[in-house]
């Protein structure tokens, strides 16, 4: 993406701690109104990068700019932040906490209270508005935390691991909430480990490992650039005639020029990874002649597959990075 049209422009940013190069030469751009997902294993530097975007820490080198904002800086009132390391005032009522955070984000106290009540209603917690935060379950506290981060309708919401610790139903709820934010015009930058959710949610992903970028782009771009292509999944009848030669059949299939790999999947499935841009007509004929095929389907590589493939094979960290 061209930096000139970016909402956020990060250029060659580095952050080092005592013996760790936590963020190494990261450059990225985020478009206005998109959902941008940061991915990476634990310790990849995602939270460090997000803290720098929020302004809690500063880069040692490089530049973080918000080109559309005056002076290239995003005012605190335009920012919503859900930290990975999160908590709330346990001894205070829900509505008081939301009003307080809304006020600090620039809302008038009455507006902050009304916004807090709207969010509690949306999260089905309005009847408990005057209960103390400590009386809520962990999942409900996380909902309140989310509301506290965005109730002032920020231009940009930075959400560090918003789905962690949530049950599947609440993950779906949060998915909807994040989509709603985007629909309201908020740019969302999030980090997550839940690949299937990110795949459904993010406009673009950025994968980090050992503080460095390992891949970035939209899902189609990532599949195109990093994926192993479409996979052909054949369910075969292992008891049918000619089964004894299945190993030979798989070897013959693997030798076909349109195939980059063959493996046995679950439930008597044969998974054939196809090379990009190859015709598969004669491959299908070969499979039909050597295997007793019960069903056929194709599958796009998932983000999970790409992630495991790329992160699993990424270069090891330098001694300084690995420290």
């Amino acid at each position: 993406m061209a930096s000139s049209s970016a909402f956020l422009d990060v250029a060659r940013v580095h952050k080092r701690f005592a013996r760790v190069h936590a963020v190494a030469d990261i450059s990225l751009a985020v478009a206005p109104g998109e959902i941008f997902a940061l991915l990476g294993p634990n310790g990849a530097g995602k939270s460090t990068l997000l803290r720098m975007l929020v302004g809690i820490t500063r880069p040692d080198e490089g530049r973080i700019q918000w080109p559309t904002m005056p002076g290239g800086q995003l005012p605190g009132v335009q920012l919503g932040y859900l930290p990975e390391d999160r908590g709330l005032y346990q001894d205070m009522p829900l509505i008081a906490v939301l009003t307080y955070f809304g006020s600090l984000r620039g809302l008038a106290p009455r507006d902050a209270q009304q916004a807090g009540e709207r969010w509690l209603d949306r999260l089905e917690l309005l009847p408990r508005a005057k209960d103390k935060v400590g009386s809520l379950s962990k999942g409900n506290q996380q909902k309140v935390q989310f509301a506290a981060a965005v109730l002032h309708r920020p231009r940009c919401a930075i959400l560090d691991e918003p789905f962690s610790g949530l049950d599947p139903l609440n993950q779906e709820l949060f998915l909807g909430l994040v989509r709603d934010l985007r629909a309201e015009g908020t740019t969302v930058i999030l980090s997550a480990h839940q690949m299937s959710l990110v795949e459904r949610l993010a406009d673009r992903v950025f994968v980090m490992q050992h503080g460095r970028e390992v891949l970035a782009g939209t899902m189609p771009e990532i599949r195109e650039r990093w994926g192993t292509g479409v996979r052909l999944i054949l369910t075969v009848d292992g008891t049918a005639a000619g089964v004894g030669s299945q190993t030979e059949a798989l070897a013959a299939i693997a030798a076909h020029p349109a195939v980059v790999g063959v493996s046995r999947g679950e439930d008597a499935a044969v998974v054939i990874a196809l090379a990009r841009g190859q015709h598969v007509g004669d491959l299908m004929a070969l499979c039909a002649s050597r295997l007793s095929i019960v069903s056929v389907r194709t599958e796009q590589p998932s983000l999970h597959d790409v992630y495991i493939d790329v992160v699993g094979t990424a270069a090891p960290a330098t001694p300084a990075e690995a420290a």
Partner: protein, 399 residues
């Protein structure tokens, strides 16, 4: 949103977190109830003391003065004819006690077991004997009045140097110091919970995305100091109510306080010094609290007692307020909050002394506040470890 608005919002939030009005009033009710209970028990004990012991006396006629009143004793001068009969009666527990007056003066108290009233007999008889002897001297009424009159001393402060306002100055200096000490103690608790608790509850990152560490610490210092002051005012008011009202309820004499010093300038100066000193120590304590990771195990909690030292020192200096040591400590910023009011209330102080003390104290408030902001900014995001003293001092120097 301006920084001042953020500081105001944070201060108000912290104040409301730590001033729970309902609990404050319950606390007052409990305190008054306890005081009333103590008053009632005291009255019961006083009533118990009114239970009289009958003490038979032999030889009262040889005294030369009437039997004096002794608290808890009823004299029975005619019941037994001689000492032996009296000894036998006391041994048989027929009478509470006995007193045998010797013909050459002095006496012997007889009891079957140890009794508290026996210690009151000798002083009462000594006073009665002295009064009788004094009455027998050939003195005129005028001479007697002259002998009984105390030596009158009147204190007059001349010049513009201020000085002792009244005989009550020392009392009020002590009261002020006591109140200052309570404010600081109240502050320990709220600062400790207000800062380390926030780290424990993982609120810090969310807050720091909204406000600068300096704004946050400024708001905390203001809000928590105000909470400590309110808590102290409530406590002092309750004590005052108990002090003045309970004697009325239980029929005792109502104690009176001497009138406080009335010089407005003096009071304003003391108020200013107290305000600045409280702000300085709260900034100091906030910085210490920001370096504490786990309040249950950190040895740094003891450092929060440091501000108490100057106050206790000032208690010692109340009776030596004119000394050079007191003058130096009244100017030194770490001790001036405690010592300067003592000097202002107790002795003559040159005009430049409070001016210099206030200027230095104001500079210290600014420096401590800045250092607290820096230490807080660095320390509040450290989880699982505490910064070393060297790191803390480096952060403070960078302020």
């Amino acid at each position: 949103m301006t920084r001042a608005q953020q500081v105001r919002i944070i201060a108000w939030w912290e104040f409301n977190r730590f001033v729970k009005w309902r609990q404050q009033f319950i606390g007052i009710a409990v305190m008054l109830g306890l005081s009333a209970m103590i008053g009632g028990v005291t009255k019961l004990i006083t009533g118990a003391r009114g239970k009289q012991v009958e003490v038979a006396v032999v030889g009262a006629a040889t005294l030369g003065f009437p039997l004096p009143d002794v608290d808890g004793v009823t004299w029975l001068p005619e019941r037994y004819g001689d000492a032996e009969a009296l000894r036998a009666a006391v041994a048989a527990d027929s009478v509470g006690g006995g007193l045998i007056i010797a013909a050459d003066g002095g006496g012997e108290v007889l009891v079957r077991r140890k009794s508290a009233w026996t210690t009151r007999v000798a002083p009462a008889f000594t006073l009665a004997h002295q009064a009788a002897a004094f009455g027998q001297l050939p003195l005129s009424a005028e001479q007697r009045r002259a002998l009984e009159a105390p030596f009158a001393v009147r204190i007059t402060a001349l010049g513009t140097g201020g000085g002792a306002s009244a005989g009550s100055s020392r009392l009020y200096a002590n009261i002020l110091l006591g109140i200052g000490l309570v404010v600081l103690f109240n502050g320990f608790a709220s600062l400790f919970v207000g800062i380390t608790g926030e780290k424990q509850q993982r609120i810090t990152e969310q807050m720091l995305s909204m406000v600068s560490p300096q704004s946050w610490i400024d708001g905390k210092i203001l809000g928590l100091a105000a909470a400590a002051v309110v808590g102290t005012v409530m406590m002092v008011a309750t004590a005052l109510v108990a002090f003045l009202m309970l004697p009325r309820i239980f029929g005792g004499s109502v104690p009176t306080l001497p009138p406080p010093p009335t010089e407005l300038g003096l009071l304003a100066m003391i108020a200013l010094v107290t305000l600045l000193g409280t702000a300085m120590w709260f900034a100091f304590m906030a910085a210490i609290a920001a370096t504490i990771d786990d309040p249950n195990s950190s040895p740094r909690g003891a450092m929060l007692m440091i501000p108490v030292l100057p106050t206790t020192l000032a208690f010692v200096l109340v009776s030596r307020a004119e000394s050079t040591v007191a003058q130096v400590l009244a100017i030194f910023p770490l001790t001036s909050m405690a010592v300067l009011p003592v000097r202002l209330l107790s002795t003559a102080v040159p005009w430049w002394e409070p001016a210099l003390a206030i200027a230095l104290l104001a500079a210290s408030v600014w420096a401590f506040r800045r250092a607290a902001g820096k230490i807080f900014a660095a320390g509040v995001l450290l989880y699982g470890k505490e910064p070393t003293l060297a790191e803390t001092l480096r952060w403070a120097r960078e302020a």
